[in-house]
Subunit: 155 residues, 2 copies
Amino acid sequence: MTMTDPRKRLDQMISKLRENNYRITPQRLAVLRILATSTGHPSVEKIYGKVKKDFPTTSLATVYKTLIVMKEIGEVLELGFGEGGNRYDGNKPYPHPHLICTGCGQIIDPDLESLQGVTEELIKATGFKINTHRLDFFGVCPNCQKAGSKKPVEN
Amino acid sequence: MTMTDPRKRLDQMISKLRENNYRITPQRLAVLRILATSTGHPSVEKIYGKVKKDFPTTSLATVYKTLIVMKEIGEVLELGFGEGGNRYDGNKPYPHPHLICTGCGQIIDPDLESLQGVTEELIKATGFKINTHRLDFFGVCPNCQKAGSKKPVEN
DNA sequence: ATTTGAATGATAATCGTTATCTGTTAATAA
DNA sequence: TTATTAACAGATAACGATTATCATTCAAAT
Ligand SMILES: [Mn+2]
Ligand SMILES: [Mn+2]
Ligand SMILES: [Zn+2]
Ligand SMILES: [Zn+2]
């Protein structure tokens, strides 16, 4: 799997903003930097907290609005969860499976070769035209299995 | 796939309520009947609307509370969507894939033999202990493909 | 430097869901 | 059958994540 270089990813995002006639503001840049450098899947509050370290006057609404823009131009993937806020993937903005540890809260991107066959089987069986999908697995990571680790990771 | 008999399914649900020392009230029975007879995946508002036809004094809170109870005893599957409310499956309360038509809004249960292999691949690759999962496909059904059908089905 | 429409920041509004509280009732046993 | 009582129903307030609103500021083009 191609490991994305954060700097290149940031430049990609900036280019996409320019292409779509969005302005490059310091607040947006701060959000984009966090999205590009995060290996995990940060929440809005996590992004907001980090942005305020460099730019203390930033509003939570600005973070939300930036994420809406990035979703619109297809440069961030939103993972909606019922509880406690959504999570965002700025490195792989296309549909892909996720693995959530209910112990520590971490969300990782597993590689699943066998997934492609499932979509093909679905199309053949139903005649649907598939546009997107969402696949989440919930379980306990190896680290949380051996000890009752109660520490949330939240990356 | 075993087509569930609504009456048997209703009796199952009632038994489960009794086993867990929950009371059988007319309002709960009305909700259970709807869950047992629905082939689709009704929303809370849809359930509420149907319940009120037979029992006009029913409160929306009662529908919510009944669904919470049914979730707790593992007899209904909740499908959380960000927009416009959750959907419920009272016939297959275990994890299974769903296929959502973004044209008419219908949600169906496809049979996907190849899905089991995906979970096995994931366990081998990550060492996680998998407890549950969620798989949704979003697309356009054959009916909505041939004409720009704008009628929501909402079953 | 000027202009101007888009973006920011602060806050109100939204909406599905949950909590609260009072009156009612299903379930148990006398 | 009636009495008892804890659970439930109904009405509504509260909640929380997200979105809308709007006056002020500023990025970008001239
Ligand atoms: Mn991801
Ligand atoms: Mn289903
Ligand atoms: Zn863990
Ligand atoms: Zn359709």
